[in-house]
Amino acid sequence: MNRALSDLLSIIGKSLAKSIKVAAFVFMLVPILIAIYQSFLPTVAFEAFPKDGFTLRWFRILFQPEFLRAVGISLMIATLATGISLVCGIFAALVLARTNFKGRELVNMLFLSPIMIPPVVKGISFIFYFVIIGLRPGLTSLFLAHVVITLPYVIRVVYPCFYGLDRSLEDASRNLGANEFQTFLRVTLPLIKPGVLSGAIFGFIMSIDDVGVSIFLITPETVNLAVLLLTWSRSIADNTLAAISTALVLVTFAVSVLAEKLVGLDSILGGLRH
């Protein structure tokens, strides 16, 4: 290729890449900012400078019983499901990382397979299956389904932590007279703490955010936050949902900052990688 032409293309390409970068950033963040801005506007009509001034009245929804109950159900299910998944997942990850039994790869694949399966596929399969085993829709079935949602994320995030761990510390603990259980609790667990925390954060967020599975399993009494918001997004046409979005984005931001402070972004990245 002609040298001058190639150099020109290179310059164009470079500035194009730069503008795409900015565009991608704007594309990701600006809609959220607009939704937040919208939550302070008196009507759904977007005004850069509202003549009636800003309002906080849409935020009243945050104190409404129906909303609070949904938040409570989501938090309870997420806490229980993530708790169970952490206990089972940490042990499973430990075995996967430390043994080399036949079929280990298969078991690993089986553990992670729920992640790659669309939520709706899990949801519809759960209702058919739960009817067969005699489990009615309600908190128990929601909880069990959310254990299936959270467990693979916990295993995937915790698993790599066991590889970076200095096993001589465990040997030292045993040599000093601690038994297996004490060693695990006092030495191993503190060493893999970042992984456990990001596993917990991941599981929790996946559970709170789930609609595809939960929508099949809820009853009118057990509507969780995500399903309630989906219903409202289709039925309420004012700025109520914008106000809830603002609140949720603030919570998310706090969680992200906390997560970064506690465990760092690197161990969170482990959970995002598929």
Partner: protein, 295 residues
């Protein structure tokens, strides 16, 4: 001699006990995954071959008519819409995401890198519904774009409740996944290779197309396949931004089973969606394995 003999025995005993201990530790997660997840897929497979008896029941038999229904244009369109939206969103997300992932992977300043990463990760943490709803405020008739267009006299521009809105929302949802998947492979390319290309007289574009792009190809393929798989299963975003008019497979399954009580057709659609997702994600692992072997 006797000490050695004892040691050997105690090691054997220990190893045997360790095996039992490990099995016990693995058991809870394995039981949950098999009993709650793997077995739960069985009825769906079985029902997909049953016959629908309107209005709400089904007949236990073996028929492929639920699958044949998807040869009919009305039903086939659900598959096409799903494939079209996933494919378009994947391509746009790759184009939008690659430059950003590249600069996150190559930024030397720890601060800037941390800040960029933080934005993408926290984006991922924001609720799916909030992200879809944000586009309702942006694309709505009275939103910023709508009112701008109205001030120029274009009052009948419909930007919501169509495939465009769903595609935009899907791209927005997929973008953080794509960026996160691309960062690793780009980061693992030795920067000195690009320097070498430049020292040999290549300009930025040539260095990129001859070194960085080919070497990050495995990452590009992995990110595209992941993005496709996630796109196939999109449920919330089409519901919020499609206004009930754009039905991808996931919302079709929900509507057929919950509102139509047609479990057999819903199950067949589920098996089709599951097959699409499995084929593509199987492709991911195969491709990555092949790459590792080549290396």
């Amino acid at each position: 001699m006797s000490i050695m003999f004892n040691e050997k025995i105690s090691w054997d005993v220990l190893r045997r006990h360790a095996g039992v201990g490990y099995a016990l530790l693995l058991a809870p997660a394995l039981v949950i995954t098999i009993i709650l997840f793997l077995l739960s897929l069985v009825p769906t497979f079985v029902y997909s071959f049953y016959r629908f008896v309107p209005p709400t029941s089904m007949e236990a038999t073996f028929t492929v008519e639920n699958y044949e229904a998807f040869a009919h244009p009305a039903y086939a369109s659900y598959i096409w819409v799903t494939l079209r939206i996933s494919a378009t969103s994947t391509i746009v997300s790759m184009v939008l995401g690659y430059p950003l992932a590249h600069s996150i992977a190559r930024t030397k300043s720890v601060r800037v890198k941390g800040l960029l990463l933080f934005s993408v990760v926290s984006m991922f943490f924001v609720s799916t519904i909030v992200r879809a709803y944000a586009w309702v405020t942006v694309l709505g008739r009275q939103g910023p774009i709508g009112s701008l267009l109205a001030s120029f006299g274009f009052t009948d521009v419909q930007m919501l409740a169509n495939e465009f809105a769903v595609t935009v929302g899907t791209i927005h949802w997929l973008l953080p996944f794509v960026i996160m998947t691309l960062i690793g492979p780009i980061q693992s390319i030795d920067p000195s290779l690009e320097d070498a290309a430049r020292n040999l007289g290549a300009n930025e574009l040539e260095a990129f197309t001859s070194v960085t792009l080919p070497l990050s190809l495995p990452g590009i393929v992995a990110a595209s396949l992941l993005s496709l798989t996630l796109g196939f299963g999109m449920f919330v975003t089409p519901m919020v931004l499609g206004g009930g008019l754009i039905n991808m497979l996931a919302s079709f399954i929900y509507n057929e089973t919950i509102w139509g009580n047609n479990y057999p057709v819903g199950s067949a659609a589920t098996v089709i969606l599951l097959s699409l997702a499995t084929i593509v994600s199987f492709g991911v692992s195969r491709f990555l394995e092949a790459r590792i072997k080549v290396r």
